[in-house]
Amino acid sequence: MRRLPFLCMALLLTCSAMLAQSGGELRFCIPSEPNTFNPLLPQEVSSGTIIYLTGGVLLRVNRITQEPQPESATAWKVLDGSKRIRFQLREGLRFSDGTPFSAEDVAYTMQKLMDPELHSPTGDAFRSGEGKVMTHVLSPLAVEIIFPAPVANLAKLFDAVPMLSSKSPQKDMAALGPFYMAEHKAGSYILLKRNPYYWKKDSNGKQLPYLDAVRLEIELNKEIEALRFSRGEIHMITSLQPDIFETLASQNVSQVQDAGVSTYTEFLWFNQSPASPIPAYKRAWFVSTQFRRAISEAVNRADMARIIFHGHAQPAVGAVSPANKFWFNSKLKSHPYDPDSALRRLQQDGFHLENGVLRDKAGNQVEFSIITVAANHARESMAAMIQQDLKKVGIKVNVVTLDFHSVIERISETFNYEACLLGLLYSDLDPNGVMNVWLSSESDHQWNPKQKSPATPWEAEIDRLMRAQASAGDERKRKEFWDRVQEIAWEQEPFIYLVDKHALVAISRNVKNTQPSALHPQTYWNVEQLALEPASH
C-alpha cells in the first residue's frame, strides 16, 4: 500500500509527459480575414500564415541557422550556374486526402506558379529572363526544373513554394504540410487540423505534428490580442509592440521573449525626384550627400532605441539588418551621433548658422517637413526626436502626420513631400528581393523613382552591382557585389536608416519545444515540433 502513492505519481508524470507530446489545439491571432486561400498567391500576413502551416515545401529555410533543410525533397542540386535545379523527392509522401505525392506534382505546381495569369509574387521571384520555365520529370521521385536564365538564390526560393496535387479531387486544398484547412468561419476563425499523412516523425518515431489542430483567431486589435493572451485564451503572439511587451513582461517575465534584432527597419529619406513640386533650393539640399550625411549624424539613434523602443531596438547600420546573417556587411558600423561633425559637414556644403538658425548659401532658412503615417505612435515619437535633434544644428522640422493613403499618394504619385519616415519589414533575405528598391529605374526607388538613366554616378554603380549580383551564380561573388552596394548606400545615405527593431514574442508556458526566431514566422516556424501541456487542453 505504501507504494501506491508513488505508483500513482509515476503514472501521472508519465501521462502528463505523453500529453505534452501530443494533442491539443494551439490558438493564436491573425490580423485580418485572409485575402486568398490560393497556396501560390500569398498576399498578406493572414494568407501567408495559412500557407506556411498547410503548405508542404520541397525544402525549408531553418529560421535559426538561415540554411535550407530537406522537407519533401531529400536532396537537391543547383546546376548550370543556377539555371537548373534537380530534386530527389522523399518516398511515400501523401497529401492530406491520401493522394500520393510524386514528381508530376512538382511539375504541375511549377506550371501553375509560372502562369502569367496568376500574378504570383512567389512566381515572380523565379522570373530571371525571357522564356518558359521547363520541368522534366526524370522518375516518379526525381524532377529537374530548367530556367531560361540564372536565378539567384535558386534553392532557397523553394521555401515559399507549397506543393499542389495534380491528381487530388480536393485540388489546391489538399495539403502536404503538417495541417490542412478544416473549417472557416468568416470574420471569426480558421481551424487547421492535423494532416494524418504528414511524413515527419520525431526521434522516437512518433508522427508529427504533435498538435491536433491550430485555431487562427481573426483579431486586428493588438491590445485585445494582448488581453486575450494574458487571460490564457491564446497561446502566442508573433509580433509585439515594445510597450505591450513591457507590460506582459511585468506580469510574467517567462512568457515574453526578445528574440533579438529583426529585419524590420525604420528609416527616413529625402525627396530627390525632379518631378517633385518642392522648391529647387530645397531639392538642392536633399540631393547633396553632405547634407544627408549631416542629418544622419545629427540624429541620436541610440536615444530612439532606448526611449521609444524601450531598448528593444538597436541603431541601424544600413540597408541590411544584422539579423540577415549571410548578407549583412559586417564591416559597416552604425553612423555615430555627432552634431559637431554634422555642422562641419553642413559648413563644407555652404550652410551657415545665423543666430541659431541654419541658412544655405543663398540665405534660405533650412526648414523641411517630415511626413509619416498617423496613429503610429512610435513613428510619431521618432519624428519628434528628430525634430529636437535637428533643432540643435539650427534646422527647423515640421512633423506632418497623414492617413496612410495620403502618404502613399504623396510618395508614389504626386511626389509632393520633402522627407518621409516609414518602416519596412524585409521578409526576403536575399538581395534579389530588394531589386525593386535599388535599381534606379524602379518605382520603389523611393528617393528618386523611375529614372530613365541613373541621376548620379553612385546610382549607376548600384544598378551595375545589383544586376551583376542577380546574374552571378556563385554566392560568394554575389555577396561581394551586395556588400559593395551596402557600402555605397552607407556612404551616400539615400535612405537614412534609423533603428532595427527587435523581434518581440509572447509564448505561453504551456507551449513546448518553441525556438523563437528573429525571422518571420518568429513563433511557429517549427510548428510540427510544438506541443501543448495538459493545462491548456
Binding site: L227, I371, N398, V400, N416
Partner: protein
C-alpha cells in the same frame, strides 16, 4: 445653482489664466525632451512627471489647455456665425428657400466629418508651423460644425416670424435688415449664445478625438486632445494617476461650460 455657476466661472478663469500664463508657470518648454528621464513619476522638478519622450507633462498640460481653450471658442464662434446666417435666412424667408436650405443642412449633416477632416488636412501645405496648423484645424472644425446649430436657429427664427410683435413690426413698415437688426437678432441672441456654449466643449472633444487618431495638433505642440493619447492603450495603462490629469482637466472644463450653458439656455 448660483454657487455652482460661480465655481464654474472661477475654474474656467483659473484654467484660462494658467493656460495664458503658461510661459511663466511652466518649468520647461513644452517641447523640451529630458531624455534621461522618460516616463518619470511626479517630482519637484516635474510636477506631473514626464511623458514617454521625457517632456514635462505639467508644461504640456498648460500649453495644451491654452491651445484648446483659446481655439475651441474660435471654432464655436465660426460655426455659430455660419449657423446664424444659414438658419436665420432659412427661417426668415421660409418657403422654398427654407426647404432647400434644410436639405442642404441635412446633406451637410450626413457627411462623415472625420473623413472630410482627414481629406482636408491631407491637402494642406506641409510646411506650416504647428501653431498655424492648429489654428487651421480648429477653423476647419468651425466651418464643418455649423449644420446642427443651423436647424435650431432656423426653427427659432421661424417661430419668431410668426410671433405677434414681428407681425406688428412688419405692419409698422419694418422689413429687411432693419427688421433683422432691431427685432430678430435681439430675440435670437439667447438661442445663438446657447449654440455657442454647446459648440465649445464639442470642439474641445472633437479635437481630442482627432488627437487620439494622431490627426490633431502637430508635434511638438500639445493640446488637451494630444495629451489624451497617453491613455489610448488600455492594456499598457499602469496605476499612474498623474497621467489622468489631462483627462480630469478636460472633464472639468467641459462640465464648467455645461453649467454655464444651462444658465444660457434658461435665459434663451
Amino acid at each position: 445653482m448660483k454657487v455652482l455657476r460661480i465655481i464654474a466661472v472661477a475654474v474656467l478663469v483659473v484654467t484660462g489664466v494658467a493656460a495664458l500664463g503658461a510661459h511663466y508657470l511652466a518649468p520647461a518648454g513644452y517641447e523640451h525632451q529630458f531624455r534621461e528621464s522618460p516616463n518619470a513619476a511626479p517630482s519637484a522638478q516635474h510636477l506631473l512627471g514626464t511623458d514617454d519622450l521625457g517632456r514635462d507633462r505639467f508644461a504640456r498640460l498648460l500649453y495644451g489647455a491654452r491651445v484648446s481653450l483659446l481655439l475651441a471658442p474660435l471654432a464655436a464662434g465660426i460655426s455659430t456665425l455660419l449657423a446664424a446666417l444659414v438658419g436665420g435666412m432659412a427661417g426668415y424667408f421660409g418657403g422654398w428657400i427654407e426647404r432647400s436650405s434644410l436639405v442642404f443642412v441635412d446633406l451637410f449633416l450626413s457627411i462623415p466629418w472625420l473623413f472630410l477632416l482627414i481629406s482636408v488636412r491631407a491637402v494642406l501645405p506641409l510646411n506650416i508651423s504647428p501653431q498655424a496648423s492648429v489654428v487651421v484645424t480648429f477653423m476647419l472644425l468651425g466651418f464643418l460644425g455649423w449644420a446642427a446649430s443651423a436647424r435650431v436657429v432656423c426653427a427659432g427664427t421661424r417661430e419668431l416670424m410668426k410671433s405677434e410683435h414681428i407681425w406688428l413690426a412688419r405692419a409698422m413698415g419694418f422689413s429687411g435688415l432693419k427688421l433683422v437688426r432691431l427685432h430678430l437678432m435681439p430675440n435670437l441672441r439667447g438661442t445663438l449664445l446657447a449654440q455657442f456654449w454647446i459648440s465649445v466643449p464639442v470642439f474641445v472633444i472633437t479635437e481630442a478625438n482627432l488627437g487620439v487618431l494622431g490627426l490633431g495638433v502637430s508635434e511638438p505642440l500639445p493640446s488637451l486632445g494630444s495629451l489624451l493619447r497617453e491613455l489610448q492603450n488600455v492594456f499598457t495603462l499602469r496605476p499612474e494617476p498623474w497621467k489622468f490629469v489631462p483627462l480630469v482637466v478636460l472633464i472639468v472644463v467641459v462640465s464648467c461650460f455645461q453649467i454655464l450653458l444651462n444658465r444660457s439656455e434658461v435665459r434663451a
